[in-house]
Structures are given as structure tokens and as C-alpha cells.
């Protein structure tokens, strides 16, 4: 109890908790779940984009996309490392993902159908991610907070590139504008879902806020995202697919329509449009290449043995 009190005091004072510090089991567990889920999202998120690396429409766009997925692999690595400082191994986290026990962002269970989806992902998905992540640069767990500083810097770069790609489409041919509008239609609602269930359905929010694992509520972040993104859509000359969308002078923000939470929970359950593809791709990558990791281990062991001898 003294330990708990001391812990709560330090967190409330915005001090960083470090790996060797004492922490409540629930804090540790919640962090592992949150950080590994974030790491998995970076890795699974390479798949919808990887789907267009081979079909990027210009050398420049191909290079930008390759650089982006490279960054995402890097983010995945920092985050896995941050989670490992909490005493969970990479293997355990990967197994939890593949067994369906661990989750990843629902957004990556939607398919990338046209090139505009890549632009839309940069603009909307990275935009929503940043909104979620910026506050986490001041999260209470040190390694996580430091990882997020790097992640956020690169993520906002991706968001700008995505928006720039969207501008090119919105200013392009009729076919390009059609792609852009269609992408916005399909990605808008799933992007709003990225902030998680509404506050009144999010039981752990309060504790996570107290522990500084979360620093704003789902609904607060979602509102912020809508308020920033709607004018961007207007600038592009695109229509947000929500007939209830309206500026609310009083609250100084947009009112928007009801989210299809049934869809959200179905996607969380693993019934998203391409969830099977995503999990199959990740499982295949892991299992069919197990021999590579085994060989690397065997070789490293032999090298170590040779050094000792």
C-alpha cells in the first residue's frame, strides 16, 4: 500500500515510471496490452500499404511509400522494445496477436482498393493516430513516452505526405477525384472508430487517465479529429459522408452522426472485411519463415561458442 501510494503520487506529479521501478500489476498489464496493441498496429498496418508499394503510380510515390513502411517497421520495433521492458517477450506478444488474443487497430481490417486509399490512410488514419499519440509523449511510463516522441515526429510527416497525395488527386482528372471521394467515403467512419468506443462504454478510461496512460478521453479526441479534418476535406473539395455533420457554434465544434458501433464490435471480434487476410499474412510471415529465425539463432550460438573456446 505504501508502494501504491508512492506510485500514485509520482504519476500524479507527472514523473516518469521506469522499468526498474515498482508498479501495480494492473498498470503493468494495461501498459503491455496498450503498447503491444500499438506495436501490432504498426506491423499489421504495413499490409494495406504494402499492397500498393508494387503499384505506386510514380517513382517518387513509390519511394515515399517505402520510406513510410520502413518507418512503421521502426515504430513497431521501438514499441516492442518498450513493451519488453515490462517483462513480456516479443515471442509472447506475437503469439498473442496470432492467436487473436491481442488486438490491433480495427482500421487495418479494411481493404485498400485504389491508390486514393493510400492517400486517405496517410491523411485520415495517420491523422487520427497522431491525435491519439501526441498526448502519449507525456504518458507516465518512461520508455513508452520516449518511443512516442520519435513515433509522433515521423507520423506527422506521414500525415502531411498523405494529405499532399490527396491534394494531387483532388486536383487531378475526374477519375482521380472520383477515387479520392470514394476513399473518403470508405475511410471516414472507420477513422472515427479508431478512437475507440464512446466514453460511457469505455470502463477503464478513468483509471487509465489517472495513471496517465491515457490523457484524453475517446470522445474528446474524436471530436478534435473531426474539427480538424472537416475543413481539410472542404479544402480538397470533397464531401464528408455524413449528412448529420454541422457546425455547432455553441460548442465551437462539429456535430456529427451516429457511428455504427455494431460494425465496430464486429471488426474487433475479427469479422472485418479483410481481417482474415491480415491475420493469414502475419501468421504466414511468422510461421513459414520460422526456419530463418532458427537458423540465425543457431548461427549466433555457434559464433558465441567459438568465441568462448
Amino acid at each position: 500500500p505504501a508502494l501504491v501510494e508512492e506510485f500514485e503520487r509520482r504519476v500524479a506529479a507527472d514523473e516518469f515510471i521506469e522499468p526498474k521501478d515498482w508498479m501495480p500489476e494492473a498498470y503493468r498489464k494495461t501498459l503491455v496490452r496498450q503498447i503491444s496493441q500499438h506495436a501490432h498496429s504498426e506491423i499489421v498496418g504495413m499490409l494495406p500499404e504494402g499492397n500498393w508499394i508494387t503499384r505506386a503510380p510514380s517513382l517518387r510515390r513509390k519511394a515515399i511509400l517505402l520510406a513510410k513502411v520502413q518507418d512503421e517497421a521502426g515504430h513497431g520495433l521501438y514499441l516492442y522494445c518498450a513493451a519488453e521492458t515490462l517483462g513480456t517477450s516479443r515471442e509472447e506478444m506475437v503469439e498473442a496477436l496470432h492467436s487473436g488474443k491481442a488486438k490491433y487497430s480495427t482500421i487495418f481490417n479494411y481493404p485498400t482498393l485504389t491508390w486514393a486509399d493510400i492517400a486517405a490512410i496517410g491523411w485520415l488514419v495517420d491523422g487520427a493516430a497522431i491525435m491519439n499519440q501526441v498526448p502519449l509523449q507525456r504518458t507516465s511510463y518512461g520508455p513508452y513516452a520516449r518511443a512516442m516522441v520519435r513515433v509522433c515526429k515521423e507520423e506527422s510527416f506521414h500525415q502531411r505526405q498523405g494529405y499532399e497525395a490527396m491534394i494531387a488527386l483532388a486536383n487531378g482528372t475526374g477519375e482521380q477525384r472520383r477515387m479520392a471521394q470514394d476513399a473518403l467515403n470508405r475511410w471516414w467512419w472507420p477513422s472515427l472508430m479508431m478512437f475507440g468506443p464512446p466514453d460511457d462504454k469505455s470502463p477503464n478510461t478513468e483509471r487509465s487517465m489517472r495513471w496517465r496512460i491515457k490523457r484524453e478521453t475517446n470522445d474528446e479526441l474524436r471530436q478534435k479529429f473531426v474539427d480538424i479534418t472537416v475543413p481539410q476535406a472542404e479544402f480538397l473539395g470533397l464531401t464528408v459522408p455524413d449528412s448529420d455533420l454541422a457546425w455547432n457554434e455553441e460548442k465551437g465544434g462539429y456535430d456529427f452522426g451516429e457511428i455504427d458501433w455494431e460494425e465496430f464490435y464486429a471488426v474487433v471480434r475479427g469479422e472485418g472485411p479483410v481481417a482474415k487476410e491480415r491475420m493469414k499474412a502475419r501468421r504466414d510471415a511468422w510461421e513459414k519463415n520460422a526456419w530463418v529465425r532458427e537458423a540465425a539463432d543457431a548461427h549466433a550460438a555457434r559464433k558465441r561458442a567459438a568465441k568462448v573456446a
Binding site: M46, G50, I53, P57, R60, A63, L66, Q70, A295
Partner: protein, 248 residues
Amino acid sequence: DQASVDYLLELGDDALILGQRLGEWCGHAPSVEVDLSLANMGLDLIGQATNWLGAAAECLDGKDADALAFHRDVLDFKNCLMVEQPNGDFAQTMARQFLFSTWQHMLLERLTGSSDQQVREIAAKSVKEVAYHRELASDWVIRLGDGTEESARRMADGLDWNWRFIPELFEVTKEREELIERGIAADPREFEDDYRAALANILAEAQLEAPADQRPILGGRRGHHSEHLGHLLAVMQFLPRTYPDAKW
């Protein structure tokens, strides 16, 4: 002149096609670390391709690097056959990278002394990147060759698949002779012995036998490829072919 353009196209197409192949791995590699390094090499190669094809385009009225990358069909691609070979498993990918990057590195080292300023500059920019590709691929050849029984067998198969495309890397045509004499191009025959020795060194460390030589398979430089390239191009060029008027 045509000979210079052809040379720039060869250099650019090699990088472009191998970069494209590496991009196919995205999200499917044995580990996140490997995913990262494959994307990184792919990115380097796409950058190099952009420079070489850009230089080629300057000699061709009204073209740019994208036009060359996305609006030529198989018969006009000049890459060597090795880079268009399918990824296969990770061992086959790394065998291809090892055999190609070792050659490309030796070539670029010489091209940093080219009599052509643009060639010299692009080579100087690329050679450091490729030195790293060579090292990374060599490490994997050793790790897999001297890993488990399965990984050694797979690496041997990967080398065997790509081995028959080595002679093409040292082919020198009459037109090329002239470009070599002018100091623009490098003569790969000058470093063939070094190349073979470098392979032998790594293979020895990897505890692997070199595959047997056989009748060389040539033709890539003249647009006569394997069946793999057409499929690669169908995917790579889809958008610019489908929307010829669009800018992206």
C-alpha cells in the same frame, strides 16, 4: 548517344526491378527487423533507379524517369535477368541480393571514376548504399549457410537458382567496348576474378559449395527476359497505363 542511353537504362533498370522485387516482401518478412532492412534496400534502389533513369531521360526528348519506368514494355527493359528472378523464399531473395549487390558494388566503385560527370556523381551517391546491401546480404548467406540443415539447403537452392545468371553480368558487347574505351562505362571483365574470389570467400565462410557452372543464360540486356518480368511490369505499371493522363 544511344550507347550512353542504353548504359544508363541498364543501370537504372537493374535498380528499378530489384527495388520492385524487394517491395513485394513488405509485411511478409521473417521478422520486423528484416522487413525494415528489405524496405530500406528497396528504397535505396528506387532512389538509384530514379537518378539513372532521370539521366537517361535527359538524352531522350520529352521523357522523364517515370515515363521510362512506367511506359516501356518488356522488350525495351534492359535489366539483367538476375534481378527479375522471383523472390522465392528468404534464402533465394538473399542469394540473389548477394550475387547482385557484390557485382553492383564492384561496378559502382569503378564508375565513381567515370569520365562522365553525371555517371560519376550518381555512382558516388549509390556506392555507399550498395556497400551496405552487399554486407547485409553476405551476412545472411553466412548465417543461413552456417545455420541449420534446412537453412543451408534453402540457401544452396537459392544460390543454384540464381547462379546461371552470373555470366550475363560480365557480358560486354561491341557497343559497350566503345563506351568503356571512352571511360564512361566500366569494364566488368576487369573485376570478374575479384568477383569470383569474393563469392568464394563468403561461400567458404557459409560452409557452402558453389553451384556448378552451366551454359550461360543471356538476353536481358537486349530485352529478352524470363517470363517473370512481364508479370512484374503488369503490376508495377498498372496505374500509369490505366490512367495515362493523370498526375499523381
